[in-house]
Amino acid sequence: MTTLSPLLQIEDLHVAVEGKEILRGVSLALYPGEVHALMGPNGSGKSTLAYAIMGHPKYQVTQGRILLKGEDITSATADERARKGLFLAFQYPVAVPGVTLFNLLRTAGRALRGQDLPVVQFRRRIREQANLLKMDESFLQRYVNEGFSGGEKKRAEILQLTVLQPTVAVLDETDSGLDIDALRVVAEGINAFASPANAILLITHYQRILRYVRPRFVHILAEGRIVRSGGPELAEELEARGYEQVLQQVRSQA
C-alpha cells in the first residue's frame, strides 16, 4: 500500500542563505494523514525550512534531499513542486498588485490540474470555502493581499490551501498575528483540509494553535537541527517550561 511510504521526506537537509548555513541536517518524514508540528525559538531556522521545501531560489540546499511522494524534488522549481502536490502558506505573504485573489485561484487551479474547471463549479467551490473561513466574497475581487490586514492575509492563504487541495501543506506560522477568533476560524480551515490522503507540516512558535489543530508529532528545531521529537505532550511541556529550559535539558543530555 502506498500509505506505507511518506508523502514528504526530508533527509539530512543542509540549507545555506547567502553562503551562511542555517539548517544543519534536518530529517523528517510525513506519512499520509499526519499532522506534524515544528516548533522552535526565533532564528532556529523554521522559515528557512519552509522556503527550502518550497524551493525558493535564495535558499540553497548544500546537502541532503527532499522527496515528495518518493520523488526527489531537491532541484525542482517551485512551480514544479506545487504541481507535484506541495503547498506553502507563507508567514508573510506578499501583496501581488493587479492580480485578484479569484484570478490567482483560477490560474493556479488550471496550472495544477492542467485544465480549467468549469467556471460555475469553480466559483461555487471558492465561495463555499470563503464562507467557511468567514471571508467576505468581495475579497475575491481584490488584489491578492493588497491592503489586507494580517488576519485577512492568513485567511487568504488558508483559502488557497482548501481550494487548491495539495497533498503536502507546509504552514509557516499561520497562527502568528491572529486574534483568538481568527485563530479558531483558520484552525477550522486547516482541520477541514486535513484528510487521510494528505499531510501537514505546521510550523509555529506558540503552542496555542495546537489546541485546535492536533498534531501527531511535535518536533523542536534549534540552531538548524531537530533536537527533540515527541507527541503532543512535547508542545505542552514547551508551553509549561519555555524553550530555554527544554533546550538546556537537551544540551545537557547531548
Partner: protein, 448 residues
C-alpha cells in the same frame, strides 16, 4: 536621436508654398491664411527648445528630419479606411465619429441626440468656415501658435483637426471617437484638436492616431481643452503608429471653471520616437484633474514624456498615475512637475510613475519635480524603475504557475489598475490586445 534611421532630405517640404496650398485646399478666409503665415514665420525664426531646458535635455528633438515629411499630399485615392477599419465598432458605441486621413475627412457621423443637444463635432477647417466667431473665441486660448518651434510648425501646416463644442449642460453619453490616419509614405500629420466644454457639459472623447503601413511618418498634434464650471470631460489619446513614425504632441488643458473635472489619458504603443508635453492647469476653484498614462515600449522605441499639474486656485486636486513597461532596448523618460501656485491652498496633488523593465536591456528615467509656492496642502510623489519583483514571481510559482505565465500575470497586473480606468470597454479590449502582443513580440533588434 542621432540613431533614428531616417535619411535627411536636402529639400524641405515644410515651405511657404505648402502653407498656401493647405490654406487654399480648405478655402480658408484671409485671416486664417494670415494666421498660418504668421505661424510659418515664427517656425522659421524660432529655434528648437534648448537642451539646457529640463523638459528638452534628455532626448535630442532638434536632429529629427521634420522637413523630410510632406504635409500637403493629395486626397487619398482610396476613400476606404484600410486597416483602421478594425478600430471602428458598430455605431451604437459612440455618439460621434470623425475619421480623417491626413486631414481629408473620410467619415463624419453624429447621433441625432447629440445633434439635437447642439453639440458640435466637426473638422476644424469646416468649423472655421461655418462657425468662425465661435472657433475664434477659443482657438489658441490654451496653446499659442508661436509658443515654440513645434506649435508654430503645427499651426502653419495644420492639415486636419477637430472642433468639439459642448454647449451648456450638454450630456454626451457615449464616446466621441476621433480617428486620424496617416496613410501616405513620408506623410506629415499636423492635426489641431480644440475641445470646449461649457458649464455643466459632459463627454468622453477618444482620439486615435493610426498609420497604414510601416514607413517613416511624422505626426505632431496640438490639443487644446477648455473647461467651464462643473463640466466633466474624459479625454484619451491613443497612439499606435508604425515602428518608424515620429510622434510629438502638445496638449494643454485649462480647467477654468469651478468644480470642473478633467481626466486625461495618454496611451502609447507605437512610433519609433515619442515626445509628449501635457499640461493640466487647475484654474477654477475646486476643480479636479486625473492624469493617466500607459505605454509599452519594445524594439528601439524611445518615449520622452513631460507632464505638468499646475494648481492655480485653492481647493484643487490633481492625481497622476503613469506606467510604462519596456523591453528589448526601449527607453522611456518621464519628467513630471507638480506646481502649486501662491494662494492655491487646500491643494491635493499626487503623482506616481512606475516603470517595469522586462527582457533585454531597456532603460527608464523617472524625474518627479515639486514646485510649491503655497502652504496648507497635501502633496506626494512616487517613482519606481525595476524588473518584475522576484518575491511576486516566487509567490505565483509556489501556487503551481510556471515562470513565463507568472511573468505574464504580473505584467497584466501592473497595468490592470490603469486598464480598469479606460473609459470605454472597446478601447480597454484593444489596449489589452496591444499589451499582449507587445509581451509576445520577440526582440526585433536581436533578430539580425
Amino acid at each position: 536621436m542621432s540613431d533614428v534611421a531616417l535619411t535627411q532630405r536636402p529639400l524641405s517640404r515644410l515651405t511657404e508654398e505648402a502653407v498656401r496650398r493647405l490654406s487654399a485646399r480648405w478655402g480658408e478666409p484671409g485671416w486664417a491664411l494670415h494666421a498660418r503665415l504668421d505661424a510659418f514665420h515664427a517656425y522659421q525664426q524660432t529655434p528648437f527648445p534648448p537642451p539646457s531646458h529640463e523638459w528638452w535635455r534628455r532626448t535630442d528633438v532638434a536632429s529629427l528630419p521634420y522637413e523630410a515629411f510632406q504635409p500637403d499630399g493629395d486626397a487619398p485615392r482610396r476613400r476606404t479606411l484600410g486597416t483602421a477599419r478594425t478600430l471602428l465598432r458598430p455605431g451604437k458605441e459612440y455618439d460621434a465619429l470623425l475619421v480623417q486621413a491626413e486631414g481629408h475627412t473620410l467619415r463624419h457621423l453624429l447621433s441625432p441626440a447629440v445633434e439635437r443637444a447642439g453639440v458640435v463635432v466637426m473638422p476644424l477647417e469646416e468649423a472655421l468656415r461655418q462657425r468662425p466667431s465661435l472657433v475664434q473665441t477659443y482657438l489658441g486660448k490654451a496653446i499659442a501658435p508661436t509658443e515654440n518651434r513645434f506649435t508654430a510648425m503645427a499651426s502653419a501646416f495644420r492639415n486636419g483637426g477637430v472642433f468639439i463644442y459642448l454647449p451648456r449642460n450638454a450630456q454626451v453619453e457615449r464616446p466621441i471617437h476621433l480617428l486620424h490616419i496617416l496613410a501616405r509614405p513620408q506623410g506629415a500629420l499636423f492635426p489641431h484638436t480644440l475641445i470646449v466644454a461649457e458649464e455643466g457639459a459632459s463627454a468622453t472623447i477618444v482620439e486615435d492616431y493610426w498609420q497604414e503601413g510601416e514607413g517613416p511618418a511624422l505626426a505632431l498634434p496640438v490639443v487644446e481643452l477648455l473647461l467651464d464650471s462643473a463640466s466633466q470631460v474624459r479625454y484619451t489619446g491613443v497612439q499606435c503608429l508604425g515602428p518608424q513614425a515620429l510622434f510629438l504632441s502638445f496638449q494643454r488643458s485649462r480647467i477654468l471653471g469651478r468644480d470642473a473635472s478633467l481626466l486625461t489619458y495618454q496611451i502609447h504603443f507605437g512610433s519609433r520616437f515619442v515626445k509628449t508635453v501635457l499640461e493640466n492647469h487647475l484654474e477654477g476653484q475646486g476643480s479636479r484633474s486625473d492624469l493617466l498614462g500607459v505605454l509599452f515600449g519594445d524594439g528601439e522605441q524611445v518615449f520622452d514624456q513631460v507632464t505638468l499639474q499646475d494648481h492655480h486656485s485653492p481647493s484643487t486636486t490633481s492625481d497622476l498615475l503613469y506606467k510604462s513597461a519596456l523591453k528589448d532596448t526601449a527607453r522611456a523618460v518621464y519628467y513630471g512637475t507638480v506646481k502649486v501656485r501662491r494662494g492655491a491652498v487646500k491643494t491635493d496633488a499626487f503623482q506616481t510613475n512606475k516603470n517595469l523593465l522586462l527582457g533585454g536591456r531597456p532603460k527608464a528615467d523617472s524625474i518627479p519635480v515639486l514646485e510649491i509656492e503655497a502652504d496648507d496642502l497635501r502633496c506626494s510623489h512616487a517613482a519606481s524603475v525595476g524588473p518584475v519583483d522576484e518575491e511576486h514571481l516566487f509567490y505565483l510559482q509556489s501556487r503551481g504557475i510556471p515562470l513565463p505565465e507568472a511573468r505574464r500575470i504580473l505584467v497584466e497586473g501592473f497595468f490592470d489598475p490603469l486598464a480598469q480606468r479606460i473609459p470605454t470597454p472597446w478601447l480597454r479590449e484593444r489596449i489589452w490586445a496591444f499589451i499582449h502582443r507587445k509581451m509576445q513580440t520577440p526582440d526585433a533588434s536581436k533578430g539580425g
